[in-house]
């Protein structure tokens, strides 16, 4: 028992010595994680809407093509998509248009994440659009509203109410999915934590920094959960 306590004390002594260095490294890694998260949302939220309209198009070839792409993207692992996006230009086309270094990796990762999440979002949007009863459109029409007025004044808020819960889910998944960018060596928080195993800033063979990265994800997804449940509550004053 005494042995257990002394080794535990020794571990925490070591940890407290290493913590400032590790904390700083993980913070800068998490900044990269946040950047990828933000860029993905900024790109995928509008792109998803375009894809949603494509998959509901009355023009059959466009609808077919869109649904085919959505199937490919949703049906294959994001990790493989990351690898293909990053390595295909350089290895197959002999022209690595992403550029070298961290910037190149970030561009490629952003591209893959935006496409992947836009496809998921598009299906959520589609369900939201189709959930608004046709009677809402017709009521707007007989009251002499224009198409734009019906979309923005009547349907949009009802759609948003429908899609907030599934979007929350998807966005929290995105927080954790950003870690997949590790596969192309993007220097996000997992990469930063793992570096202390191999050796960095005089620390090597340490596993705890990697474990500690989970705290970052927990705190951030906790914040998002609070934020989105507030939004959901705000929209709960009406029922569709």
């Amino acid at each position: 028992m005494a042995e257990f306590w002394s080794s535990l004390v020794a571990f925490f002594e070591r940890l407290s010595g290493q913590f400032p260095i590790v904390f700083q490294a993980l913070n800068s890694g998490f900044l990269q994680t946040l950047k990828l998260f933000a860029v993905t949302l900024l790109g995928a939220i509008p792109l998803g809407l375009i894809i949603a309209f494509g998959s509901m198009s009355r023009f059959a070839p466009l609808k077919g093509l869109t649904r085919f792409v959505v199937w490919i993207v949703r049906g294959s692992p994001l990790m493989i998509q990351l690898l293909i996006v990053y390595y295909f230009p350089g290895m197959v086309l002999k022209n690595n248009w992403w550029g070298s270094g961290e910037t190149g990796r970030f561009l490629a990762a952003s591209f893959a994440f935006i496409i992947n999440y836009a496809c998921y979002f598009s299906e959520i949007y589609r369900s939201g659009i189709q959930a608004v009863p046709v009677g809402q459109q017709e009521a707007g029409q007989v009251l002499g509203l224009t198409g734009g007025q019906i979309f923005f004044r009547v349907k949009l808020l009802q759609m948003i109410k429908h899609i907030v819960p599934p979007m929350t889910n998807e966005i929290i998944t995105l927080v954790k999915d950003t870690s997949l960018a590790r596969i192309i060596a993007l220097q996000e928080v997992i990469w930063a934590g793992q570096a202390f195993m191999k050796g960095r800033s005089g620390i090597s063979g340490e596993l705890w920094p990697l474990f500690f990265t989970a705290v970052y994800y927990l705190v951030f997804s906790g914040l998002l959960t609070v934020l989105f449940s507030r939004l959901e509550k705000k929209l709960s004053y009406f029922r569709t």
Binding site: P133, G135, Q136, E138, A139, Q141, V142, L143, G144, L145, T146, G147, Q149, R153, V154, L157, Q158, K161, Y237, F238, R239, T240
Partner: protein, 260 residues
């Protein structure tokens, strides 16, 4: 010349010919009930009149002015179509209130958006919006829902929601107010309050066209009853004659199956 006229209106969905040349007219201030079994084309006729559907053939006139002509609709601008559509109001079976707006805002949404098209809107903004609010309050009082103005549709009973829907349709002062089975989605104990509102409107000589299954109501309130079968008007007349002495075997059979 009748106040409102429907001439030779036909409509098909694919190979299903739902309306087969409907001719019909009514005078200002009249209440006309349209009865008939399901599938007879009543609702489709109402949807063609209110232009939620485009009839394939025929013309519709209000005060002698064409508001729909199957031969020329493609050439009309969207705004012109909307302007013509506003000759009619429509109250739906499922109410179709806008759930995110309060009762008062449901009433005011369309008039406010229409008011923006007034040439002097920017100058008289306050005045116009105040007029709309005043009108909304007056109409709410008319349907007995003054105290519900700030509530949302989900907080109201079905009967109250339908009364709001009627009030919303009245806001744009349509020349002809159409009802598509206004009490069919209601619990039986709630139909009375909606029918009472319709009776009050009839007393004020609002021109109304009501598709209904409420035979007792049709008989009490209507100036004229129209019986539809297989996409045409099979019989029409004043309610007493029509219900007491139906001529066509179709109407006899229909009335025999309906409880008065």
């Amino acid at each position: 010349m009748a106040y409102f006229e429907v001439n030779g209106v036909s409509k098909s969905f694919g190979s299903n010919r739902v309306l087969r040349g409907v001719d019909f007219s009514m005078e200002k201030g009249e209440v006309v009930s349209i009865i008939g079994s399901s599938g007879s084309g009543k609702t489709t006729l109402l949807r063609c009149i209110t232009q939620l559907e485009q009839a394939d053939e025929g013309r519709i006139l209000v005060e002698g002015e064409p508001v729909f002509d199957a031969a020329e609709t493609k050439r009309l601008s969207k705004e012109e179509k909307r302007r013509r559509q506003l000759n009619f109001g429509l109250v739906f079976q499922q109410f179709n209130l806008f759930p995110q707006y309060s009762v008062l805002d449901n009433l005011m949404l369309a008039p406010r958006l229409r008011a923006k098209k007034e040439p002097d809107f920017s100058k008289r903004r306050e005045e116009l919006l105040a007029e709309i609010k005043e009108k909304a309050r007056a109409i709410l009082e008319q349907v007995g829902l003054t105290e519900k103005a700030k509530q949302y549709p989900c907080e109201l009973s079905g009967g109250q929601q339908q009364r709001v829907a009627i009030a919303r349709a009245l806001m744009l002062s349509p020349k002809i107010l159409c009802f598509d089975e206004p009490t069919s989605a209601l619990d039986p104990e709630l139909t009375g309050e909606v029918l009472q509102v319709l009776k009050n409107l009839a007393k004020e000589h609002i021109t109304m066209m009501i598709v209904t299954h409420e035979m007792k109501f049709a008989r009490e309130v209507s100036d004229k009853v129209v019986f539809m079968a297989d996409g045409v008007i099979a019989e029409e007349g004043d309610p007493e004659t029509l219900f007491q002495n139906p001529r066509s075997p179709r109407l006899k059979a229909f009335l025999a199956n309906t409880t008065l």
